[in-house]
Symmetry: D2
Subunit: 486 residues, 4 copies
């Protein structure tokens, strides 16, 4: 097929077995249900762009694998240019929708990780994982599917490994092995865009050790596979998505995250890309982390761009020139460019893996993760500071009240300023939505915690080398050794 | 009466004319309606404390005015000890409820401001405002009422003064003067705790100039006065207050803010404390700002204390010792103590006004406002960092889903960790509620914007004096003058 | 005598045994030697203020001990007003000299610490330390001496206690006990203002444990006691103090720090205030830390005030109005007021010790220490940013070059801007001196490290209490316990 | 010649006309004089690396211009790889010497700027500047010279342009035009590495306007050209470079900055690359700024690496494992990688100019400038925090005192800890030198001020575009216009 239209994408979702729930209700049609329609709409924007002369190059790329164009979300970044194009696409996707379209990007990232891992694994042990993945991916590109990625396990007690948990299901695992495939049980949680996805690409959630073969599993399954249930998570102000009216300020997109319950789901062999190779789990995780933590800087920057725009809208709605807030806007822009830039730098200092996938630099990618966990918070704070009291916590009566026959006219009179009430409320609600509402994507822990990133920074920094350089300059020879060592 | 019980307080609210609306609905009983009950409950905690041996001294104080004990919220701080007691009470009230009980504290602060202003005004022009206020206050103390404070006008175009607005109602004003009082029109917006209040103490929203006599008005009216309508504002996740179940994590308190529509409300003379004295509006605002911006540091610290506790609960729920997060907890505590401490310092460097009210130092009070607009954001971020992904944006299925006969048991299994799912979800929801939910009180712009505070810092700093000192040290004489001046 | 003139103070220094060295040279007269004259001059300013109607109340206070006025530096703060007066004096002393006059303030702080410690010790064990101290102090007040304080020991290997060091002298200790006193050996290092002091008040450098009686010693000795040698430390750009000309920009004050070598110094009994009471060393250190870390906020603020003035001088010298830098100046002022204010708050939340000395709050005093270790750095950075390239690192030819017959005129032509070269260079050199020159007082580690302060913050924070409050709000009962505990 | 040895480089310097002064003294031989030898030595390290198998590729590159290898400092970056190699070289040069070797890098950057400018200028107006520059550069590469860059003019009153100054010489200008060249007068100030340079590449210091043709001049001259005098600037602790002993902790390198006085210096035509083209000055400055502000992130990171090493040396010297300071070291590393990374990103998002030179992205390059003006300060503060009190301000007796026959042994005893005194003092002095001594390179204003960078950020940000995106999301159409505009 290749490069579907938004309509084709939505039709495909409608044909799937309904298995997404929210508030105890089975959602019959995710494309129209108030709880999920925004997410679908956001992802549909990307399909729309693929049909459009002006934006096509942002989202599609020629694929050697199938000899025709494919979505960048399903394509392996082969070089720096490809990778930068992905960073740009992610920034642009946030600019377009105001938030995350994680139902495609995490999956693409997971595919990249397995591209390298399966290549090395086959080289080492003569398995056939890489060819399986190539076949699956070629098919996925041709079908132009939306494939989300799923890593995070419930994990249970954080001080224990999977095999030490009182309940072995706390990390997704193989419960039985058959000639034609495996049966898995467990959950993957907080999975962005699951409702908007047609398939799920599953990776191990962490690096495992000897004896944890059953947890060392990677595969792809349809999102409506038998035994798989998705329960949508709440998020701040999520019920407003279900409302009409301007309290729900985003006309375009939105993001939801699902809990995926795998109750003995069968995965056929040709969809399994890692199966018991404990030793490859660390590499899998690292191969996932590097591109993810590099590219997420683009996401955060793109949302920051919208925060800038929303803050300016509010300033103007209040009758104030945006020039008054120049210093604050510059700081917001610096924050945006810093996460975007450090990600680009991680890419620029990366290198091609023998399998042909471009792997960003680990140190810079993880430095970026620490910025992603801090700078967007400051950008949000600045947006609230510029936008004023009614935007800070969305402190305005509801859109229902604005239409009250009794006092609605009075409210509208008082909510107007340099523009009418409707326009001003939309702008204020957008700031609220972006900074303290359902538009906050949750990227501090998404893709791993900042403390985890700091561990990688530790391990990738050459402090002993720095110490030797300093000792050389100061004429200290040999360099002073760590106390207690010789 | 003096020192009512929580039950008496609630009964009094129930006897008022219903005039509070939300979502287009007239709330018959604010004490039980899901949209307002939490706020009432939070304020009731303070009445409860007044009945309790252990906490009584926090919230009551002997009043010279009535010769018996009265609520601290209605008492004039006469000296540093009184003022510190107020700061401590505010910190404690946040610790108790997790959020703001602004229905009492802004009113008390407004009373303080007028205590000094009316005293000076009478001295200067022989009016009788101060006695009126004494009488009203003695009565308010005896009735032990909850009196909210109302300053913020809609303001319209921010580049224009009240008399320049195309609609003169954009700032609350006198529309007619009668022998027995005045009739006012306009709105006061984002008024904390209005639903929980029995009276409203109204101040001018800014300093006004010649020709703006009609906007220069201060008074107190019952919250259910004829012509006065309150429309409750939305805030992030506000509809969860209306839910049962654990997605609504605060069992104790909450805060709402109202839009007060004054549609030709009559105010009798004995409740008017400023009437056309344009020249006193600047002093009124400053007298309000100083104690408000000093004491708000205690509020923010008290909520910060709960953020610390909530983060520790989540760490432990995840099986992790809070010691692991020692550095982050220390930073949270530093943030708390900084806003609290700079407020205390403003008080300690303050002085008694001739009217007998203690006025904190303007420079330090406004420095504190800038901290209040930044440090709590970092404290929230750290709480989210400690608490992990499910708390960051409350990324868990709803409490309804947890009870689903189909998949509820499965969700509960996976949401448990070192504690059961119910406990862990409560802890995570509390972090969400405090940092990105309806517990965020909106204190960046509450009581004025940080940029406004910086203007006061400018005006109260002695930069010319610093320049002379520096010139003296460097042997530059005379000090270099500002370019363009002689 | 009481309240000496600057001339009397200098004459007293000239009569002491020369025992101060720098660059291998014995300084005959510290009041005139280029290496020490600035420090003496700075301290003399305080004596001058005591003689002056306008400033007298800043630096003197009525002493009950001697029934007449005494220097605040030698007086016990009995209440909050006294303590605030000390904070103000310290801020003012920095404003006056641009830097530290530590030769008086650390000593006064050490006296306070022992005032409380000796009182408790005598109560507990019937000793006579407190009376000894009263007698010594009354005499010191009457003589109006400059008494520096000495805590910091060389310490040797930081992972070992005094008794574990390979050389027991690494912490100052008693080497012999005699009926009439003790003989001490060791060193106290980095002692501010030693060259300007007439006596040295010595405290143990840390809390010691059983078996470390010999290190548990507190006493006062003349700075020129037999066996005591002072070697002045280097500091950045210190040799410029020895130059004439404008590269040495401070005409008024300066600070030096000395290494005090105690080579078997005899201390008579009436000057010993702690002798072997290991159990009192922790209290001694805490009693020192609390007032020191509260009041140092004033010091840092006072220097920050001069940084503001110096930055404005440079802006104007460049022809630029200081208004252009308003935002940066506000931030500098906020930094100044924060360290000052949190110190004042520590005092305001303090309480009187039974001995009559006012002890600030431990939590806030240590919070302030962390601000003192960070905010002045930002203030310096902002001063450099405003002042421009030639001030950032003092990047201008020397004053000798400015007078070169060959190219001096040319340099002066090019160094002038809105003012002549001489004036502009003085302003730039002052910024350099304050931010990266010999005027930097070293207050990050002075009085203990910020990490040490954080340990106290940990121990004084009530995190378990916060956890209980949070659990109560969330309806979690009992609160979740620390993993591994019941 | 090409690729000289360090000895050849030094010999060349010795053969130049002595015209460098410091402290009023003409320096006969810059390679041995204590005031300049460190700078020469630092630059010589680069020549040494060029001779060394291991490091050669860092500093040399094949030049198409001469068909053989040339120094990277003299080569045009033709693509991203070239540019990244320059960033790496600059980081490595700081690691090698602990500080700046600005005598080569600013010149190389200026050459790049003129490479593009002359190309465009010739295209537009048919001049021959580009060929002149090619010829000069080919010759410079063959001679393998050290060529510093000179932009900063004295500027006089900052509110006036060159033609408005009361003295027209406040910006370097042409005073007479001759058939064979021009005569220039004025000064270039704060020129890094001038003493170590053989030639000076001069650019206009700012963008000029019509009527300021005489100031619109770019050229290269020998550093010892007739009429050119260099006066070395002071910097913090600069006289220690002239000392022997360990108070001068850098055995390898150092940086000095000179004031270049042009007293009617003749420049022949073949060395003139811009002459009166006012319209090209803005482009010249921008072409300089972009690569400079991108690559300076490498410099700052390289010095930050040494700060890490020096801090670890001190921790260990104190007997403390560097692991204790892991969090602080991670933060230092994050700071280093951020300036390095954002610079790399500016390069990666850059593009090739038609002349063949790679021009980094303007927005990211200027964002980096703001990081360079802040993050290294925090890195220095952390180094001081780890290193402790004696390193914070270098608070140790001088090396002369350490050798005193009277008390030297005692000082050494007390200055030792886990290592001997000599080693510990070297480590502490290195921290001092790097953070508050003569090793601080002054990069906040070097290459322009952060406020200037913020202006570029303003102009290169697409805030109107962001506003349109936000308006589209919120359903506001058309976007709200700036007040006062239609």
């Amino acid at each position: 097929m290749a490069l579907r239209t938004p309509e084709q994408y939505k039709a495909a979702l409608q044909q799937m077995r309904p298995n997404v729930y929210k508030f105890g209700e089975l959602i019959k049609d995710v494309t129209t249900h108030p709880a999920t329609r925004r997410t679908i709409e956001g992802h549909a924007q990307i399909f729309k762009a693929g049909q459009c002369e002006k934006h096509r190059d942002r989202v599609i790329v020629f694929s050697d694998l199938i000899g025709e164009n494919a979505s960048r979300y399903l394509a392996i970044a082969r070089n720096l240019d490809d990778f930068i194009a992905i960073c740009k696409m992610k920034r642009w996707a946030f600019q377009l929708t105001g938030t995350c379209t994680g139902g495609r990007c995490v999956g693409g990232n997971a595919i990249s990780a397995m591209w390298a891992t399966t290549y090395d694994l086959d080289k080492k042990q003569g398995t056939d994982y890489h060819n399986r993945l190539r076949s699956w991916l070629a098919d996925a590109q041709r079908r132009d599917i939306t494939c989300c990625g799923a890593l995070t396990d419930p994990k249970g007690d954080r001080t224990k490994t999977p095999s030490q948990q009182s309940d072995p299901d706390m990390n997704l695992r193989v419960v039985s092995r058959r000639p034609d495939g495996v049966v898995v049980r467990g959950a993957k949680i907080m999975i962005a865009g699951a409702a908007a996805a047609e398939e799920v690409f599953v990776l191990p959630g962490a690096a495992y050790k000897e004896g944890e073969e059953d947890w060392s599993i990677a595969f792809a399954v349809p999102r409506d596979a038998d035994g798989l249930t998705v329960v949508e998570a709440r998020r701040p102000s999520d019920t407003r998505d279900m409302e009409d009216g301007i309290d729900n300020p985003n006309r375009i997109g939105g993001i939801t995250q699902g809990y995926l319950l795998f109750e003995d789901v069968f995965v056929p062999n040709n969809r399994i890309f890692l199966n018991g190779e404990v030793g490859a789990t660390l590499q899998t995780v690292m191969n996932f982390i590097m591109p993810y933590r590099a590219a997420i800087g683009g996401c955060v920057a793109g949302q920051g761009d919208i925060k800038i725009g929303a803050a300016i809208l509010m300033a103007r709605a209040n009758g104030i020139s945006s020039k008054v807030f120049k210093d604050k806007l510059v700081q917001m822009q610096i924050n945006n460019e810093t996460t975007y830039g450090v990600g680009i730098a991680a890419a620029a200092l990366g290198k091609a893996h023998p399998s042909g996938v471009w792997i960003p630099d680990a140190l810079l990618a993880n430095v970026n993760k620490t910025h992603v966990a801090t700078l967007p918070y400051e950008t949000s704070r600045l947006a609230q500071e510029i936008a004023g009291g009614i935007a800070e916590t969305g402190c305005m009566p509801s859109s229902i009240d604005l239409e009250s026959p009794t006092y609605g006219a009075s409210l509208k009179k008082y909510l107007g300023a340099a523009v009418d009430a409707d326009t001003r409320v939309r702008a204020a609600r957008l700031v609220e939505w972006l900074t303290i509402g359902s538009g906050v994507p949750g990227c501090m822990h998404g893709g791993g915690s900042p403390d985890g990133a700091k561990l990688v920074i530790c391990s990738r920094s050459d402090w002993e080398g720095s110490t030797e350089l300093a000792a050389r300059i100061a004429g200290i020879s040999p360099p002073i050794a760590e106390p207690g060592t010789k």
